[in-house]
Symmetry: C2
């Protein structure tokens, strides 16, 4: 399958998942979103499960490419990280957020989903912990535990995701609170005030 | 329906949701978990949708009763709150966590779920904001914005929930990081160290 076809099928899967939910997702509905026949879809993917595993792989690759940042400066890398997770690209793609939460809710019933989601999570936490570690070494951030801070930040990111899907909370609001947290924890933007 | 029957049906629904997932949940499977016939289940609930709405109402009531705390001391109320969300009662009930995430993932497809989930969230945030406000007035907590802090804390709680279900992360680990966050933000346990 060429890249263009794959991207079209993945976008169709995301839209179909968003519109019908995981419970009512069928190969026919994905084919309809793709504007091709169900037979054409089965030519590329034997089963719905196989297609959804590819969808999760595609999600991971997409996420990786957005997190990749070559900047040497830890502060700049942290800004890129926040932008990748809460910026306009993420804001516009509500259907992707809905599709991803559907996969997370299914994780207890699928070892494949669990493994893939654990992989995405580990990569997100490692990216963040490394940035924090470098920032501490460079004297830009306060001396926190990089792994604990990365795990709690990942928890807040996961929470923002579920709030967006289940409560329709705006990513901009989540971003404001997340940046407040980073500032308070790492002293990211200004010198912290001395508590009285 | 008497209380005992309702509790048995709700527990059966939670187990069936946990075992089969939302996508493969049927009235037959819930009846099997309840050890009664499908006809007996339909006597109480016309449709699966009606049963699942009741399940969400029951969830809210259960959650409310655990959050209710009559203590006057804000610090004590905060401890009760953390215990209700991360304590042994919550730790033991993995199937409930899975069932609740399934409902959250379905929220974009059901106005009823969205409304109920928004209600639970508002109640959780109000409980927390009020406790923080009282603690600041009593001079126990640092002067933070109570609403912002409550919303970010709720986000972290939502994140811990999704990590438990999708990544199998232990509630005890989530609790440790959540308490660290509260201590750093509110100065809950000891006077904060003065940053250099």
């Amino acid at each position: 399958m060429d890249d263009e076809t794959e991207a079209a099928v993945m976008a169709a899967t995301s839209r179909a998942l968003c519109e019908h939910g995981y419970a009512d997702l069928t190969m026919q509905r994905i084919a309809d979103e793709w504007d091709k026949s169900k037979a054409a879809l089965h030519y590329h993917y034997d089963t719905k499960e196989e297609l959804l595993e590819s969808f999760l792989d595609w999600t991971i690759a997409r996420f990786d490419s957005r997190l990749a940042c070559e900047a040497a400066d830890p502060r700049e890398r942290l800004d890129t990280f926040v932008e990748a997770l809460f910026g306009p690209a993420e804001e516009s793609d509500g259907s992707f957020a809905i599709a991803l939460l559907a996969m997370k809710a299914q994780a207890p019933h699928s070892e494949t989903y669990r493994d893939r989601l654990a992989e995405v999570d580990a990569r997100m936490r490692e990216t963040l912990a490394e940035t924090i570690r470098d920032g501490i070494e460079a004297g830009q951030f306060r001396e926190v535990d990089p792994e604990d801070t990365a795990r709690f930040a990942a928890t807040a990111i996961n929470g923002s995701h579920v709030r967006r899907v289940a409560l329709d909370e705006r990513p901009a609001e989540a971003r404001r609170l997340f940046e407040q947290y980073l500032d308070a924890t790492l002293g990211r933007e200004q010198a912290p005030e001395v508590p009285v």
